[in-house]
């Protein structure tokens, strides 16, 4: 039996049935990592010792007959912008190449408490800025489905690790699609929960009004298990919600019958519709929903037309302030080349930030500057409100919205690095979800030209349970 081909929940069942030990699960994955990492480069830092120690504890607990947590013995990989105490956390940047955090993020604490086994930290676009994991200071990650192609991004390392069977579960972060798009590119499940459902404490922010921790698994059940292990109100994060919806259950769903599905009309008329074959696959998938008893309806979300511009202004504005603390004074990279304070700041940041990071800091600085702020930042905030209202209207009589996750197939390495605007445009299906604080999940809908494509199921705020159930229903129909 190849342990690494099991789903996380299957591993847990066998562990609790004492068919396999936590150490065996871990060894299988460490072997896989040893075999594949030179091709994939999914991890920036591995924590073998920490993982072995955690697995040993789980086995000991099991032997003593103690209760085990929800992630008992299951390997988990963490995107490298999630702080781990005394385990290097780089954000894919030279700036934090040697940064050892003095504390654990809340989600990390929860994984440890749930008896999960943390394998290490995965590669990502620098400070989560990018859609291909190519802006990382620590080299490209390759797509396990086709090593000549990117895994997507920014959480490309986590997605590749799950798709490449280096781990069953992983966490990423999703600011404008950074979990869903790599899930689509790698042919796995990736979910961005409702803003406020998972604590951001200890997650290095990129754009703090949009960032949300997201989860990866090879099926919906795994994504659900990962999500429920880390979600919940956190008094250390003022934006985490006390609201209901915490009971994210999969119970009571067998089919898509009666599911009220909305399709945004605006996506029919888009100029960049991407590959026609991908669109065709999407239409077939909608048909699958319809045949399974879902009620399909078109809705209009007029403000979607402005979502990319709105996203790039708000995101870059927040980036410019969130990344100000990396100044070479207290932690992180410090230049050796300075006389004055200004040189210390300028040279540290010039030497340690990559090109895409600098580009977004400059965009954001511009959008917030006096004289430009009203027509950029403040206007974008108003449009954001309109986008939220459009969605609220659509969800009044629909359960979910279906769309593609990304308008393109995973592209060749280095093929897009000089086309930042084209890269930005590829976010059109994912960014509105972050702007409105909604939840969305990307589930594989088969291959096109031998490469995976993802279906995005979007739900209202705290409709996390609904989209998981819809995803599960779809999985069952097509299996």
């Amino acid at each position: 039996m190849d342990i690494t081909s099991l789903k996380g929940w299957e591993m847990k069942e066998r562990l609790l049935g004492k068919e396999i030990s936590s150490r065996e699960i871990l060894s299988a994955h460490l072997d896989m990592i040893d075999r594949k990492e030179k091709d994939l480069n999914a991890f920036i830092t591995l924590d073998r010792e920490g993982a072995i120690e955690a697995a040993r504890k789980v086995d000991a607990k099991l032997q003593r007959g103690e209760d085990l947590g929800a992630l008992a013995g299951i390997p988990v990989a963490l995107k490298d912008n999630i702080l781990t105490k005394n385990l290097r956390t780089t954000c894919g940047s030279r700036m934090l190449e040697n940064f050892n955090p003095p504390y654990d993020a809340t989600v990390v604490r929860k994984i440890r408490e749930a008896d999960g086994v943390i394998l290490g930290k995965t590669n990502m676009d620098e400070f989560a800025m990018g859609g291909s994991t190519e802006t990382s200071y620590f080299g490209n990650t390759r797509n396990p489905r086709d090593l000549s192609r990117v895994p997507g991004g920014s959480s490309g390392g986590s997605a590749a690790a799950v798709a490449g069977h280096e781990t069953p579960l992983a966490l990423g972060s999703d600011t404008g699609g950074s979990v869903r798009q790599p899930a689509s590119f790698c042919g796995i499940v990736g979910m961005k929960p409702t803003y406020g459902l998972v604590s951001r404490y200890g997650v290095v922010p990129m754009s703090n009004s949009l960032d949300q921790i997201g989860v990866f698994g090879r099926d919906v059940k795994d994504a659900h298990m990962m999500l429920t292990s880390v979600s919940g109100y956190d008094p250390l994060d003022a934006t985490s919600s006390k609201k209901a919806g915490r009971d994210i259950s999969l119970a009571g769903v067998d089919s898509l019958k009666g599911l009220r599905v909305a399709l945004p009309e605006e996506y029919r008329n888009l100029r960049i519709t991407g590959d026609e074959k991908i669109q065709e696959r999407f239409r077939e998938t909608v048909k699958v929903f319809e045949d399974a008893g879902a009620i399909i309806d078109y809705v209009s979300l007029p403000s979607l037309e402005y979502s990319l511009e709105t996203y790039y202004i708000i995101m870059s504005s927040e980036v410019s302030t969130n990344l100000s603390r990396f100044d070479g004074v207290r932690f992180g990279y410090r230049t050796e080349n300075y006389e004055t304070l200004d040189e210390l700041y300028t040279n540290s940041r010039t030497e340690a930030f990559g090109e895409e990071t600098k580009r977004r800091i400059m965009l954001g600085t511009y959008s917030l500057s006096a004289g430009y702020q009203t027509e950029n930042y403040k206007k974008a905030l108003r449009v954001r409100t309109l986008i939220k209202q459009d969605y609220e209207r659509a969800f009044r009589d629909h359960d979910v919205i279906l769309s593609l996750t990304a308008p393109m197939l995973p592209f060749e390495l280095d093929s897009m690095v000089n086309s930042p605007v084209d890269m930005y445009k590829a976010d059109l299906y994912t960014v509105p979800v972050n702007l409105a604080g909604l939840c969305a999940i990307s589930v594989p809908m088969g291959d096109v030209e031998g490469l995976p494509v993802g279906l995005q199921i979007t739900g209202p705020r705290f409709g996390d349970s609904t989209i998981l159930k819809a995803g599960l229903g779809y999985e069952r129909v097509v299996r």
């Binding site: 999630i82 702080l83 956390t89 954000c91 934090l96 940064f99 955090p101 003095p102 504390y103 993020a105 951001r200 404490y201 200890g202 997650v203 290095v204 922010p205 703090n208 009004s209 008094p235 250390l236 994060d237 003022a238 934006t239 504005s317 927040e318 410019s320 302030t321 990344l323 100000s324 603390r325 990396f326 100044d327 004074v329 207290r330 932690f331 304070l341 700041y345 600085t365 917030l368 500057s369 006096a370 702020q373 930042y377 905030l381």
Partner: protein, 476 residues
């Protein structure tokens, strides 16, 4: 004269809350460097701020005490700039939506009461502190990082350093009354910047505003304003145009020194602080805070005039601080004579404290002891002069007045028989004075009283001495 000075103030007040504004670190002055820090106030990556309710309530107390309009929703913003003592590259502050706007404070210059209006009061976090060493390196202490502040901004309603000083005193007094700050300038819990310029209202000309920083006491603030007023007057008279600039007060040189010229407004690239979701301020919360406010200085003064029959001046002095007013009323409960007590407090007690450069909260005498002393005088057990001597002794030794009087045998001689004897003896040995008195020289009486006091070591009841002396001298 048509030339008018315009002064506006920006005052930063550290709130004396238990915790820092966005984390659970203690808010305390004077701890060992970098001992009151955590990931949040150090601005470590990933750490998030959670606003402290007490800090908001303290700021709301100020807003209510100064009659401000209170915002419906608290929104925080990021003020972006780079500085080593600023951990995150931005300060969490408020831009377009201050917690409190408008409001006023009334001052009482000689010309009569005047309202100084406020532009706004907003809440923000303090920064760390830079320590410059002798070898030229700079060290950073982040104990102060994240301590809650209110920034109080006035309109340019003050027309002299005197008015500004009265405003600052009243402000400090009120902030102390409502218990939201230690307001100690020397510890930096109250910091003041001055904006000043002059206008010629006839000609319609004016100088550009200068901002003066580094004012470490009210005294240096006054000196700096006077210095700047003169400098601006000269600029205006000479017809020179100046640009907006920031200057620093040099206490030693007694002058302001230019720090930078401001050709354009500072651009802090304010952005929403999305880590803190907007907090609604409901009416019930406001009413709870309003009810918890103590009696404010002005109301207390009016009450002192009405209830205790004090003059406006006396009531003003006695309500200068809450401690003083409280002490007065506590003592009054035992003395029952507001005028008499007022004289003692404003005369000997406050003068003594002022001479020793002490605040009233350092007053070494209890209200009970002071009441006892005044009652000894009131009941003629000691005379007024002895009373003052006993008070000095109380200040120095902290002993109870009864003990001092007993120890030193200072009880007043009010026994008519005993005093009569001394009066007779004094008259016997001073025939010349009797002669002088009869020849219309009233001064002779003073001399005779002095002799009697000398003979009794000052303990004779002065009224009785006078009475007996007049009686006996007429019999001669």
């Amino acid at each position: 004269m048509a030339i008018k000075t315009l002064i506006g103030l920006e005052i930063h007040v550290e709130l004396s809350t238990d915790k820092k504004m966005f984390c659970n670190c203690r808010n305390q002055y004077g701890a060992d460097v970098n001992t009151l820090v955590c990931p949040v106030c150090l601005g470590l990556p990933g750490a998030l701020p959670v606003i402290d309710r007490q800090a908001v309530e303290y700021a709301l107390r100020a807003g209510l005490a100064f009659d401000c309009r209170i915002a419906d929703v608290i929104r925080m913003d990021r003020k972006n700039y780079f500085y080593p003592d600023l951990t995150k590259g931005y300060q969490i502050s408020q831009s377009d939506h201050p917690l409190c706007s408008g409001g006023y404070l009334e001052i009482e210059p000689e010309a009569g009461p005047k309202r100084i209006t406020l532009d706004r009061i907003h809440i923000e976090e303090d920064t760390g502190k830079q320590l410059h060493t002798e070898d030229g390196t700079s060290l950073l202490d982040f104990n102060r990082s994240g301590v809650p502040l209110v920034e109080i901004v006035t309109n340019p309603d003050m027309n002299s350093s005197e008015e500004a000083k009265l405003f600052l005193e009243k402000l400090r007094n009120t902030l102390k009354y409502i218990g939201i700050s230690d307001v100690r300038m020397e510890e930096g819990s109250l910091r003041c910047d001055v904006n000043i310029n002059v206008v010629d209202e006839e000609k319609g000309t004016k100088t550009s505003v200068t901002e003066v920083k580094n004012l470490n006491s009210f005294r240096s603030a006054v000196k700096a304003m006077d210095y700047e007023e003169a400098r601006h007057m000269k600029l205006l008279n000479d017809g020179e145009s100046n640009v907006k600039e920031t200057r620093r007060w040099d206490e030693v040189a007694g002058e302001t020194i230019i720090m930078r010229r401001k050709y354009t407004a500072d651009d802090y690239r304010f952005a929403n602080e999305a880590d803190i979701t907007p907090i609604p301020v409901d009416g019930e919360w406001i009413e709870d805070i309003r009810r918890s406010l103590p009696e404010l200085p002005h109301a207390k003064k009016m009450r002192f005039m009405e209830e205790h029959g004090l003059s406006e001046y006396d009531a003003g002095v006695l309500t200068q601080s809450q401690e003083l007013a409280h002490f007065f009323e506590e003592t009054l409960a035992h003395v029952k004579d507001a005028k008499l007590l007022g004289n003692w407090m404003m005369g000997d007690v406050l003068r003594r404290l002022k001479d020793e450069d002490k605040d009233f909260d350092e007053m070494p005498i209890s209200s009970k002891d002071l009441a006892e002393l005044i009652n000894l005088v009131k009941e003629d057990k000691i005379n007024n002069n002895t009373g003052k001597k006993v008070l000095r002794e109380m200040f120095e030794t902290g002993k109870a007045p009864e003990d001092i009087v007993k120890e030193k045998g200072l009880i007043q001689i009010s026994d008519e028989g005993e005093l009569e004897k001394i009066v007779m003896e004094t008259l016997d040995v001073n025939p010349q004075s009797i002669e002088d008195f009869k020849n219309g020289k009233d001064r002779a009486i003073g001399f005779l009283v002095g002799q009697i006091m000398k003979a009794t070591k000052g303990k004779a009841n002065p009224q009785l001495v006078n009475k007996l002396l007049m009686e006996k001298i007429k019999e001669r």
